[in-house]
């Protein structure tokens, strides 16, 4: 696609800065300005595992059709980092634009003739207009917002309003920020032809939508689900979950008079302890969770198997990052799918939930607690860095005040009073789920929780039949889980087709966009988005109804495909993997190319 023609509300803006220079607020301002102009917008933060000094990028995609996935095009680059200038320059799509700080001369060979380059003396203007060194650094970032406002025709009134709201408690900052914005804006107006053919235009006000990260949404979901104990060990990229939970608890769960807290957050000594705390708290009857990432799940695995076998509800939130090992902590992947499905030694399997955006993160966080308590087992919420740490535009979150937690089969003293004898691991209902009691309630409900071989009474056993009875019942429970987990969502093609795509989690946006592109090429595909493991009936129906099924996922080893092959019969020759695992969020081009190539079409990326 040429970038010289007029393109309204359809562009990718990329800002290259240095970690720790305060560019986040400037970038947030750009995002919100577009959002308030009613333009569908997403922001992706591409950052290093570092506190200060390394290169960082922020990508804003504005798209009037509402496509949310990453797009590998760059229409406008703001190159604020001399260290990466050469690479940033090279990345601009032909016909695109680049803005740089012209305070210091560029090397002559760093130029391109197929793009337009705008030099703005940002540092010079900051030094002339602001006194304090730190302010100069910060205002340089805000100033490029002004330049972009002129080039992209952003609504200045919206930007001013945003500044007022952001700094309502610090009016001095409003003036400084506004001054910097106007300096950039006026410079661009004076020296360049504004606006560019690529630009924004007000298309509504995005009523009914919000901007939120997946981590915030999960923290909020845990709050609304009534979780009272959160135990964790800090790890990128999941830290935001506990940060969010903490701040929401401080807002909603503190007695204003006494300061008493209706929650406890425990920063554990490691992930092993965090898992133990979550299991201990759930055993006693509180809703407890832990947010972590892949390395944390590895450490928690012994306890996860314990909770599976001893049948203790627990919620594990895995905001996935790039593995193996320490991998790339600030990059995204879906590479813990297989590990979480079967985490721990022995025969174990666990329900997994796959949210595809922050809206679903909120809903599924609540659902994870209900499922964990209903099934008395560990439940995993598998988010990833892309969903968790990036800014997503999603429909407003909704809450039903009639909701009450599903605490599952818990016998309290009144229930016990009517029983002759309580038997902990007895399947009285045929669904594989036994009843449990809570410590502190009644001696009649006392039992011994153990990870060693046990019989249905909870007693220690090395008897083959007694042992196997429990293990087989756990499979009955697994079948029950299939009927309780969130169903898969079908998006049928407008044309009848035998081609299908299966995807999950953050690959959703890329698949949605790719299907439209593929349809333009004459390739029509039905799409089923898997939202949980074990697979519900729709997944098996979809597998049976298609001749070729593309399985899109963000890992090297086709982990979801492997899970499907383990769970369904005779599908191996019909599954085709489309894999993306370089650590960046999956772009739609990956899916378009993968499918069209397999269909015998070569498509220009």
């Amino acid at each position: 696609m040429s970038t010289t023609q007029n393109r309204i509300n359809d562009f990718v803006l990329k800002i290259a800065t240095v970690n720790g220079t305060g560019s986040a607020s400037a970038n947030g301002l750009l995002m919100k300005a577009l959002f308030r102009m009613g333009v569908p917008v997403t922001g992706k933060n591409l950052f290093p595992s570092n506190i200060q000094g390394l290169p960082t990028w922020y990508e804003v995609r504005a798209n009037h059709q509402g496509y949310m996935s990453r797009c590998s095009r760059v229409d406008v680059m703001v190159a604020m980092n001399a260290q990466t200038y050469q690479k940033d320059l090279a990345e601009v799509s032909p016909g695109g634009f680049l803005v740089y700080d012209a305070t210091w001369p560029r090397e002559r060979d760093l130029n391109r003739h197929d793009i337009t380059v705008f030099g703005v003396p940002l540092s010079k203007m900051c030094n002339e207009n602001f006194e304090v060194a730190r302010v100069r650094i910060l205002m340089k970032n805000v100033m490029y917002v002004g330049v972009l406002a002129a080039l992209l025709d952003l609504d200045l009134e919206v930007i001013k309003q945003l500044l007022q709201e952001t700094f309502s408690s610090k009016p001095k900052l409003i003036d400084a920020n506004l001054k910097a914005i106007m300096l950039g804006y006026e410079y661009a107006q004076k020296h360049f032809t504004c606006p560019l053919p690529i630009r924004a235009e007000t298309m509504g006000d995005n009523t009914g939508n919000i901007l939120i990260t997946g981590n915030e949404a999960i923290g909020l979901g845990c709050l609304y689900a009534g979780a009272t104990v959160g135990a964790w060990y800090p790890i990128t990229p999941s830290t935001g979950v506990m940060d969010a939970f903490t701040s929401y608890c401080e807002r909603f769960r503190v007695d204003p008079e006494t300061g008493d807290r209706n929650y406890m957050i425990i920063q554990a000594e490691d992930e092993l302890a965090a898992a133990g705390m979550v299991i201990g708290a759930n055993w006693v009857g509180a809703r407890a969770f832990t947010p972590t990432s892949g390395p944390g799940i590895s450490l928690m695995s012994e306890f996860i198997g314990f909770a599976y076998y001893a049948e203790i509800p627990s919620v594990f939130i895995n905001v996935q990052r790039v593995g193996p090992s320490t991998g790339m902590p600030t990059r995204t992947q879906q590479s813990d799918t297989m590990m979480c499905a079967y985490a721990s030694h022995g025969d174990t399997r666990h329900p997994l939930l796959f949210p595809s955006n922050p809206h679903e993160c909120f809903d599924m966080a609540v659902r994870a607690f209900d499922l964990a308590e209903r099934l008395q087992t560990p439940v995993f919420l598998l988010s990833d860095l892309d969903i968790g740490m990036n800014d997503w535009m999603v429909p407003e979150l909704d809450w039903d005040d009639a909701y009450r937690p599903d605490r599952g089969k818990v016998l309290r003293p009144d229930d016990l009073a009517e029983m002759d004898r309580f038997i902990r691991y007895l399947d009285t209902d045929g669904d594989g789920i036994p009843h449990r009691t809570l410590p502190g309630d009644d001696p009649k409900g006392a039992y011994f929780t153990r990870g060693s071989g046990h019989n249905k009474y909870g007693g220690y056993t090395e008897d083959s039949d007694e042992y196997q009875e429990i293990l087989d019942r756990l499979l009955v429970k697994w079948d029950t889980a299939k009927t309780l987990v969130p169903d898969a969502i079908l998006s049928p093609s407008s044309k009848k087709t035998k081609l299908g795509i299966l995807a999950y989690g953050s690959s959703d946006g890329a698949v949605i966009e790719a299907r439209d592109r593929l349809a333009e090429l004459g390739i029509h595909v039905n799409y089923l988005r898997i939202r949980a493991f074990p697979f519900s009936a729709e997944v098996h129906e979809f597998l049976e109804a298609h001749d070729t099924i593309y399985v899109v996922e963000q890992n090297r080893d086709a982990q979801m495909k492997a899970l499907l092959m383990l769970e369904a019969n005779d599908i191996a020759d019909r599954l085709v993997s489309i894999l993306h695992y370089n650590g960046m969020p999956i772009p739609s081009e990956c899916v378009v190319t993968g499918v069209s190539r397999h269909q015998g079409l070569e498509v220009a990326a």
Binding site: I212, T228, I266, A281, V284, G285, A288, P439, F448, T449
Partner: protein, 351 residues
């Protein structure tokens, strides 16, 4: 090994405690440990102590890890929930359980392998958080279930049953606990129930993490000549620094308690730990005094017992967290979930 229910025999005239329960009500399944195992004596002391304290069985949670010691929670208070967790991780499960319900009485039983090797990290951090519980280490210096390897508490120079000499320094549970800031540290001996029962009662009454290291000889793998954790060695080298007694809240505190080397430690719930210095040199309220004393006697191969350190005013986990008085797990859902309107209001800031 099997799970054996202890036959319950009601004896007429059996003594009952303040809540009408007999000693038998505090017993559990029959022990499957070796005959003469020190751990069984500790179990008996626990039964006695809990009965004397008139603890409601359902309010007790019996937590353990893995190992011989960790089996014992099945052998006392059958009316309490038990939790036999994974190796070395009892403290974290207990922490979570007591976070969820602060009214429960936490009793963790661990061993020297469970606490000083695989679980050394969690041992340190449960102390640091001052989780309100009794943390009892049944310390025999040896791995029993895997047949006689040295544990981290085995003394340098002591020998295994096969005659192998331990070359490494030992990890001293009480000195470690004191130096890490434990609010209550004591040591007892499974062969001295007269001392152990009041020690257990004091440790349970203490409002914080009470570490009780109990030397508990392994009759099968570590009760020979050359062992420093045998019955014979412990009896011979045991030294009482203090003696403790727990006085319930409503009991009268007599003036004589303040006399000489005896003094009372008042707890928040109104009960009192009455401490008597067996050795006038000992001061269990000063950390450096306690550590210096322990070190002096360690050099002579002596095993110092009693309440070794106490500070009843260290805030426990719930005080540190400012959590509400009511158990978190009992809070009504309505007080936890802010509701639809609050969500709408919150989201105004996300636009």
């Amino acid at each position: 090994m099997t799970y054996l229910a202890r036959p319950k025999i009601e004896l007429p005239g059996q003594k009952t405690n303040a809540i009408g329960l007999t000693l038998r009500d505090y017993e559990g399944a029959l022990s499957t440990l070796c005959a003469g195992c020190g751990h069984d004596s500790i179990t008996a002391a626990l039964v006695q102590a809990l009965w004397e304290m008139s603890l409601r069985p359902e309010m007790l949670i019996k937590m353990s890890g893995i190992g011989c010691s960790s089996k014992t929670p099945a052998y006392f208070v059958h009316g309490a929930h038990g939790f036999n967790s994974v190796h070395g991780r009892m403290p974290s499960v207990a922490t979570g359980a007591l976070a969820a319900n602060r009214d429960l009485v936490g009793l963790g039983v661990s061993g020297d392998g469970d606490s000083l090797s695989i679980g050394f990290g969690q041992f340190g951090h449960v102390i640091r958080r001052n989780v309100n519980m009794l943390y009892l280490i049944e310390n025999n210096g040896v791995y029993g279930l895997t047949k006689g390897q040295f544990s981290a508490s085995a003394d340098a120079g002591s020998t295994s049953k096969k005659g192998e000499v331990n070359q490494m320094q030992n990890i001293n549970a009480v000195a470690t606990a004191i130096s890490m800031g434990a609010s209550f540290v004591g040591r007892g001996f499974s062969g001295d129930r007269e001392q152990l029962v009041p020690l257990i009662k004091s440790a349970i009454a203490h409002p914080g993490c009470a570490v009780l290291d109990v030397i508990s000889p392994c009759v099968t793998f570590n009760d020979h000549e050359g062992s420093t954790k045998s019955y014979a060695y412990t009896r011979e080298h045991k030294l009482r620094a203090t003696e403790a007694d727990l006085i319930p809240p409503r009991a009268e505190i007599r003036a004589s308690y303040y006399a000489g080397d005896t003094y009372p430690v008042r707890l928040h719930d109104g009960s009192t730990i009455l401490l008597k210095k067996a050795d006038p040199d000992y001061d269990p309220t000063r950390r450096n005094n306690a550590l210096g004393y322990l070190e002096r006697h360690r050099r002579h191969g002596e095993i110092v017992t009693g309440v070794l350190y106490i500070d009843q005013n260290v805030p426990d986990m719930h005080e540190q967290s400012r959590s509400t008085e009511a158990p978190l797990r009992d809070l009504p859902f309505e007080t936890l979930s802010p509701g639809r309107d609050a969500l709408a209001e919150l989201q105004k800031g996300m636009k």
